[in-house]
């Protein structure tokens, strides 16, 4: 069975592309065959986050306009078996693609892949409509902030209007310390407000910046807490239930070190 999932958010800058890249890597590490598709025509980024920017020859618009075959445009990630990127066009705009084009493309990809992850552009215009056209379901990325949650709520409504099944939520840039002192909405607050199921929480961690600098998603790194959060989301995507939520790493203070020595478990924020 093959499934197409759109990664969307409404608001820009909340981590759609990072999430798409990491989930692509994590699913491929599980042995799945995955195509990640950058649907942000004119502002491509997924190639950079994956560190594949130097290998682009053809892009999504070339495929749609028949200038190349789909297989020629797919870039194979050499670090993991089964991961392929279909880059967005950089010099065209979103009107070069229609929802029908995307449906056809996804249909074609489904012949060869277990999972197709679509990195949706910010906004609710053409790019969003294109991105959800071929999707079987949506994952909404948000951060624990008023503006991002407001946009997420709008996207939930639009997914419903498009007759997609109930979307699932990734809460990104979670900061346990701020939650603890009451300066950040916690998991319960967010789920209470958005009322959709949670598929994962990703801590706000410098790993994201370091890995983006290197073009080497955190999901490749066994020791990364961010990578671990995404690997667990990937397991939930494949239908595994009872995957515990990742313990959010806090910087070591004398107190947390002492608590650990004394045998208290590390704080679990999610």
């Amino acid at each position: 069975m093959s499934e197409c999932i759109v990664i969307t958010s409404g608001k820009g800058g909340v981590g759609k592309t990072t999430s798409t890249a990491n989930l692509g890597v994590a699913l491929a590490l599980m042995g799945k065959k995955v195509a990640v598709v950058d649907a942000d025509i004119g502002l491509r980024n997924l190639d950079v986050i994956l560190g594949l920017e130097n290998r682009i020859v053809y892009d999504l618009v070339h495929v749609i306009e028949g200038e190349c075959r789909l297989k020629q445009a797919l870039i194979k990630d050499k670090r993991v078996e089964g991961l392929f990127l279909l880059p967005a066009a950089q010099t065209r705009d979103k009107n070069a693609v229609s929802p029908e084009n995307m449906r056809d493309l996804v249909k074609q990809l489904k012949e060869d892949f277990d999972y197709i992850l679509i990195d949706c552009p910010a906004g609710i215009e053409q790019g969003f409509k294109n991105s959800i056209a071929g999707a079987d379901r949506a994952i909404i990325v948000t951060t624990p902030e008023v503006s991002a949650l407001r946009d997420a709520d709008r996207i939930i409504g639009l997914c419903e209007a498009a007759e997609l099944p109930e979307p699932m939520l990734i809460v990104n840039r979670f900061r346990a310390k701020l939650v603890k002192r009451g300066d950040m909405l916690n998991k319960e607050d967010i789920l209470d407000i958005l009322a959709i199921p949670l598929i994962g929480m990703v801590p706000d961690h410098e790993d994201v910046i370091v890995t983006a600098n290197r073009g080497y998603p955190a999901a490749f790194d066994d020791k990364s807490v961010v990578g671990e959060a995404y690997r667990r989301i990937a397991r939930r995507i494949t239908g595994e239930t009872d995957v515990p939520f990742v313990a959010t790493e806090e910087p070591d203070t004398m107190w947390t070190v002492m608590k650990r020595w004394m045998g208290f478990s590390k704080e679990v924020a999610s």
Partner: protein, 91 residues
């Protein structure tokens, strides 16, 4: 000096998530309802005018707002009544 002590002992941070939560709840309802604040005010004034024909209300103790629940959007209202007088009701 007090300011400094205040800042030291009770930090200005802490608890801002309650602000976020209450703002969001109002925001999301209004995004969905698509009524402007002035339309909301007009609705409120009209509803109160109707109530006032039947009961003497306490204008400072009127709460009328839209709330989201699992079933959808509810118009929730609490109006303090000074006195209900049958003769006030006009046919």
């Amino acid at each position: 000096m007090m300011n400094l002590i205040d800042r030291f002992f009770s930090r200005t941070t802490g608890g801002s998530k309650e602000d976020a939560k209450s703002r969001l709840k109002i925001l999301l309802v209004h995004d969905q309802v698509d009524l402007t604040p002035s339309q909301m005010d007009a609705m409120r004034a009209e509803i109160l005018a109707v109530v006032a024909r039947y009961a003497e209300i306490e204008p400072t103790k009127v709460d009328l707002r839209l709330e989201r629940s699992d079933d959808g959007i509810n118009l929730v209202s609490s109006v303090a009544v000074r006195r209900v007088n049958a003769r006030m009701a006009v046919g």
